[in-house]
């Protein structure tokens, strides 16, 4: 466990230092497309469904206790912004991005391409991990915004058309504070930095044949998802303890 976190921090350090290499602009952009753009449908779809589920539950609770959706609605809206949008977006994005990163790097590793890179005077970490790291950091907050918008919109529509109540009252921002947004943003940044590192570490370490790539993907995805949960909790505790 400690060894793993140590290896991840070292990889993170090397990847950050790799940003000094000037020729990575194009690789960065193509990673923004493949880590970000290609994840948008999954996040939109998943969070829209989740928004509907949340309203269904809120509706059940409202009928039981308060009698009106307008009372619990804003609380749920804050919950979506502060907690669900960052966490579920991160988990969805983590599973897709981590799977792709560890699969790609893992199959490069077992095909000796990393060693071919070393002999071509290129550092595989700079070449492969750095663009993915920065692309993911740049993209995760945007994905979180997309996820939050998708969840809120679908919640609003569900309330309006299925429960025939005022959808706008559900998404009222009366409880949303600056602290909520800062908390959500921090979570997104942390997940964005962690996911590619966890996945890349497993990919780079793959040795052997196709089986090694499969193992790298399995372990990489699990560690990325687990890391997101842990980071989410730690950040939640931090913001809770400073009272934001």
């Amino acid at each position: 466990m400690i060894a793993l976190v140590g290896a991840q921090s070292r990889l993170f350090g090397r990847a950050v230092l790799g940003a000094r290499e000037p020729r990575l602009g194009r690789a960065f952009l193509s990673q923004v497309a493949s880590l970000g753009g290609a994840t948008v449908p999954l996040v939109t779809f998943g969070m829209a469904f989740f928004g509907m589920v949340m309203t269904t539950i809120a509706w059940a609770q409202a009928r039981k206790y308060t009698g009106s959706l307008a009372v619990v609605g804003p609380a749920y809206f804050e919950l979506i912004l502060r907690e669900f949008a960052p966490l579920l977006t991160a988990l969805l994005a983590a599973s897709r991005q981590a799977a792709f990163v560890s699969a790609e790097l893992g199959s490069m590793a077992v095909n000796e391409q990393l060693e071919a890179m070393e002999l071509s005077a290129a550092d595989p970490v700079t070449e492969l991990v750095t663009p993915r790291l920065f692309a993911s950091i740049a993209v995760m907050p945007l994905l979180t915004i997309i996820g939050a918008v998708a969840a809120s919109l679908s919640a609003m529509l569900t309330v309006t058309f299925f429960f025939h109540e005022d959808g706008l009252s559900f998404v009222s921002p009366q409880y949303v504070t600056f602290g909520d947004l800062a908390c959500a943003f921090t979570k997104a940044l942390a997940a964005g930095a962690y996911v590619p590192i966890a996945a890349a570490l497993r990919g780079l370490r793959a040795r052997g044949g196709a089986g090694a790539v499969g193992d790298a993907v399995t372990v990489g995805v699990v560690e990325a998802c687990m890391g997101c949960l842990v980071l989410d909790f730690l950040i939640a505790v931090f913001f809770h303890s400073v009272g934001a």
Binding site: T56, I57, L87, A99, A210, G214, V222, D232, V237
Partner: protein, 254 residues
């Protein structure tokens, strides 16, 4: 229009592949080898236990942290137990456990099966007239079902315990108070609903990852791609199923 057509074909093919896996698994069910089943149960169930316990801890603590904020805001501190338990059993528990199991079991299963098909071992089995479904696929599907069900029960239990602990430390809510709100407001049907949801997620993960894994062609890259696709397909399906199951189950059970 063309895009729509392509999408339809894609969906139809996916549904076809999933249906095929379901049907052939059902047919092979009577002949499942006990040894393979035990192996798959160890791999999917037992080996996932540490991950599940870790996840349950995180989920429980996070839910209380959030629920606590609202409980204090609405002056419902005494109901924290109920609110946290309800959210956990109905929504948080099944969904998060489903996503994590998609990563753990789905990726693993797809990777293993695709490895067998890439290496030509499935063809080899057919060559000596052994049915790969009976030998390899059916035990995995059954094992994934059983494992996820059992893991769900463990998760709920552990997560609720951690919720109580977290409530004690953050909200200074005595453990007794936390749990007294349980029997009043949570019914056993809630538990049945949450467990049913999770088990269905487990089945979907098993079937989808199997379908993706068996379709793979092409070396190390193919195996990686299959694992990645399986995770994405499982996650998307879990969210869709979640939407379908929540209203259905809550209507049936109330």
């Amino acid at each position: 229009m063309r895009l729509l057509g392509r999408l339809t074909i894609m969906v139809l093919r996916a549904v076809g592949a999933v249906a095929l896996v379901c049907a052939r698994t059902a047919l092979a069910l009577r002949h499942v080898s006990g040894r393979e089943l035990a192996r798959a149960l160890t791999l999917f169930g037992y080996r996932s236990l540490p991950l599940t316990l870790g996840a349950a801890t995180m989920i429980g603590a996070t839910v209380v942290l959030q629920a606590g904020v609202y409980a204090t805001r609405f002056g419902l501190r005494l109901f924290t137990g109920w609110a946290a338990g309800y959210a956990l059993i109905w929504e948080f528990g099944p969904l998060l456990l489903g996503l994590i199991m998609a990563a753990r079991i789905g990726a693993r299963n797809a990777a293993e099966l695709s490895l067998l098909s890439v290496n030509g071992q499935l063809e080899g089995l057919r060559g000596i007239s052994l049915d790969p479904f009976r030998l390899l696929v059916a035990p995995r599907v059954v094992a994934a079902f059983l494992s996820v069900g059992a893991l769900a029960a463990v998760t709920f239990l552990v997560a609720i315990l951690w919720e109580a602990v977290a409530a004690f430390f953050t909200l200074h809510l005595p453990l007794r108070v936390f749990f007294t709100s349980f029997p009043d407001m949570l019914r056993w049907t809630d538990l049945v609903g949450g467990l049913t949801k999770t088990i269905i997620f487990g089945g979907a993960i098993a079937v989808i990852s199997t379908a993706v894994g068996l379709r793979t062609r092409g070396g190390a890259q193919g195996v990686g791609r299959a694992a990645a696709e399986a995770v994405v397909a499982c996650c998307a399906t879990i969210f869709a199923l979640d939407l379908l199951l929540t209203p259905l189950l809550s209507r049936w059970l109330s």
